[in-house]
């Protein structure tokens, strides 16, 4: 019986394809908006999370000055000294790893090829705080750091642009007028949250960098990786306190450095997308309401047009509730049809956006199912009134209707 009713409903929708499709536009737009925005939204936040987790987990970045976040650069404010790092190392607790660093964009050369790359000087902790893993070779060791040895670790981009098919391990890479021996190759990370290529990098011991490339002992950043998430605020506060002392910041004066919690930045970005989601959600809700009213309208028209048919059905013994079911099912099928088109359009848009914005295509089957059920619900709600009107028709009057 129900299947018969569904078939009947599809038949009457097919008879008026254009009208049905136009009616469904509201639902299609509403559902498509929801699906597209949720899918794009979760793709974006997934991307942001991914990017930030590539920076390292539970990481604090300490920088001189009060600059906003962005790619680490040497600030004009007074930079850190090795003594600062040593004191932080001895006084902070709950720290998994710590790494001072300084960077410079410069030309790196291998054979006849050269490339612009970010060259960073740091120590052995650097690979831990930034969650780097090795594709080949090894990190430089403590002894090499202490000695300022001419060794370096390269990123995937350097390997592919300069070395091509050659195994880079053991080769000599020329940078800033001296040769360093490549001891390790890093696993590729891709783009950072700020859109820079994290693999276009050469990492060498800090002392080597300072002596041979920078010509100064400045330290631009200190990375601190905290062992436990819940310790991050405490370590952050301790770091601030210690540095204020070391850098002689007068009580009440503003810090001349910044300690930034990268995880906090992640949640800030997530919050921004929540606002976007709410806004688009409101747009979708309005579209769905309009879609529902459209369905109600078309069903009322349909009931009027088919008054005679309803009269026939009632005369030959259809119960009121059987007629009600028929029209309700018709409204539901119509709405679901709109829902399915909307889901397809929404996923299509999200797919294009994912491709265009280089974010993951994060289609959530639960959201798709929810949209489907919800559009059916719209059919029930807005189809009920017209269906009841049909069910309550007087068979004699209805039969006389032209």
């Amino acid at each position: 019986m129900l299947w018969e009713t569904v078939k009947l409903a599809m038949l009457s929708i097919r008879r008026n394809v254009l009208r049905s499709v136009l009616t469904l536009l509201g639902i299609v737009i509403g559902v498509a908006a929801v699906i597209a925005m949720v899918t794009i939204g979760s793709g974006t936040s997934q991307k942001v999370q991914d990017d930030l987790s590539k920076l390292g987990s539970n990481m604090l970045i300490v920088r001189p000055g009060q600059n906003t976040f962005g790619p680490p650069t040497v600030s004009e404010a007074r930079s850190f000294k090795e003594r600062d790092v040593a004191i932080l190392r001895s006084q902070l607790s709950g720290v998994r790893a710590m790494a001072p660093s300084a960077s410079k964009t410069t030309t790196v050369v291998f054979g006849a090829l050269n490339d612009q790359a970010t060259v960073t000087g740091s120590d052995t902790g650097f690979f831990t705080v930034q969650d780097w893993t090795f594709a080949a070779g090894r990190p430089f060791g403590e002894a090499e750091v202490r000695a300022g040895a001419a060794v370096c670790v390269i990123g995937e981009t350097i390997r592919s642009t300069l070395f091509g098919g050659i195994d880079p391990i053991g080769q000599r890479l020329r940078t800033g007028g001296f040769d360093c021996q490549v001891v390790g190759l890093l696993e590729a990370k891709g783009q950072s949250a700020f859109g820079t290529d994290q693999d276009n990098t050469v990492i060498m011991p800090l002392r080597t960098f300072q002596r041979r490339l920078a010509g100064s002992t400045r330290i631009a950043n200190i990375y601190i990786s905290v062992a436990n998430r819940e310790d991050v605020p405490r370590v952050q506060a301790d770091t601030e306190r210690i540095l204020r002392e070391l850098r002689r910041v007068a009580p009440g004066a503003e810090d001349n450095f910044t300690v930034r919690d990268m995880t906090q930045i992640a949640s800030t970005l997530a919050a921004t997308s929540t606002v976007m989601t709410a806004l688009l959600g409101a747009v979708a809700a309005v579209s769905l309401l309009v879609g529902g009213i459209g369905i109600m309208n078309i069903m009322l028209v349909s009931v009027t047009e088919r008054t005679r048919e309803i009269g026939i059905r009632l005369a030959i013994g259809a119960l009121g509730r059987q007629v009600l079911t028929q029209f309700l099912v018709e409204a539901i099928v119509l709405a679901l049809f709109g829902g399915v088109i909307g889901i397809a359009v929404g996923l299509g848009l999200a797919g294009m956006a994912a491709f265009g914005m280089a974010i993951p295509f994060a289609a959530d089957p639960r959201i798709v199912a929810l949209a489907f059920v919800f559009s059916g619900l719209i059919g029930v709600i807005f189809g009920f009134f017209p269906a009841r009107r049909a069910a309550r028709l007087d068979p004699i009057e209805a039969l006389r209707h032209e």
Binding site: R15, I312, L319, Q322
Partner: protein, 234 residues
């Protein structure tokens, strides 16, 4: 259900349309018994209440006053759904305008009452096909009303009315839209159903030629039964 009593029994049935002074008295006290197995023709001038009486007999409408017994059961006060159940089990309707569902095949039209009775598909198909054969439309099962002539459409309507094997077939001007030759064919069909299957038929007609097929002829004037004659079997 008593075997002996009349199938249809109207007692003092009145039907008023509207209220107060302006009310139209479509039926003004009708007493009428129709025996099971009879073929009754109802005649009378336009507006005399024939259709109104048919609607009440067919349980599509209720009398304003008086009682209606169908097969011995008082059905006067039944509600909408109870009347619908009665209609789909015991009553068949044929209308002047055929009233088939458009864009729906003959077979599906005939199946419709069985769908509402909740019969399984296989049984429905079989019974509908049989009813279509009975009205002489074999081979036209998959034609839609638009592809059938008026006479053929009325045959489909008759098939739809009898597919549930009702006790009573009500036909309000079944030949009103048909030419003479086609009208006689329809009357032959109804007469056959009445004689061979014992189906009780009540038919409204304006044409004496058609009324002549019936075994009993009732005349309505101004909402009253003004004449009632039963013919000997021809």
């Amino acid at each position: 259900m008593s075997e002996a009593g009349p199938l249809v029994s109207l007692a003092g049935v009145e039907r008023l349309y509207g209220e107060g002074g302006g009310a139209v008295r479509a039926l003004a006290g009708v007493d009428l018994d129709i025996a099971s197995g009879s073929f009754v023709a109802i005649m009378g001038p336009s507006g005399s209440g024939k259709s109104t009486a048919m609607n009440i007999i067919g349980c599509l409408d209720r009398p304003t006053r008086g009682t209606y017994r169908f097969a011995g059961v008082d059905v006067t006060g039944l509600d909408r759904d109870q009347r619908a159940r009665l209609r789909r089990s015991y009553l068949g309707f044929v209308f002047q305008g055929y009233n088939l569902l458009a864009r729906t095949t003959a077979l599906e039209n005939v199946e419709l009452p069985l769908i509402y009775r909740g019969l399984p598909r296989g049984q429905r198909r079989q019974r509908a096909a049989e009813a279509i054969r009975l009205v002489g439309l074999e081979g036209r099962e998959h034609h839609t009303p638009a592809q059938l002539s008026g006479g053929q459409q009325q045959r489909v309507a008759i098939a739809r009315a009898i597919v549930t094997e009702p006790l009573l077939l009500l036909a309000d001007e079944p030949t009103g839209n048909l030419d003479t030759a086609r009208s006689h064919e329809i009357m032959d069909l109804l007469t056959g159903l009445n004689r061979e299957r014992g189906l009780t038929v009540v038919m409204v007609t304006h044409e004496p030629d058609m009324a002549a097929y019936a075994s009993r002829s009732i005349r309505f004037v101004d909402g009253h039964v003004a004449g009632d004659e039963t013919r000997r079997a021809t």
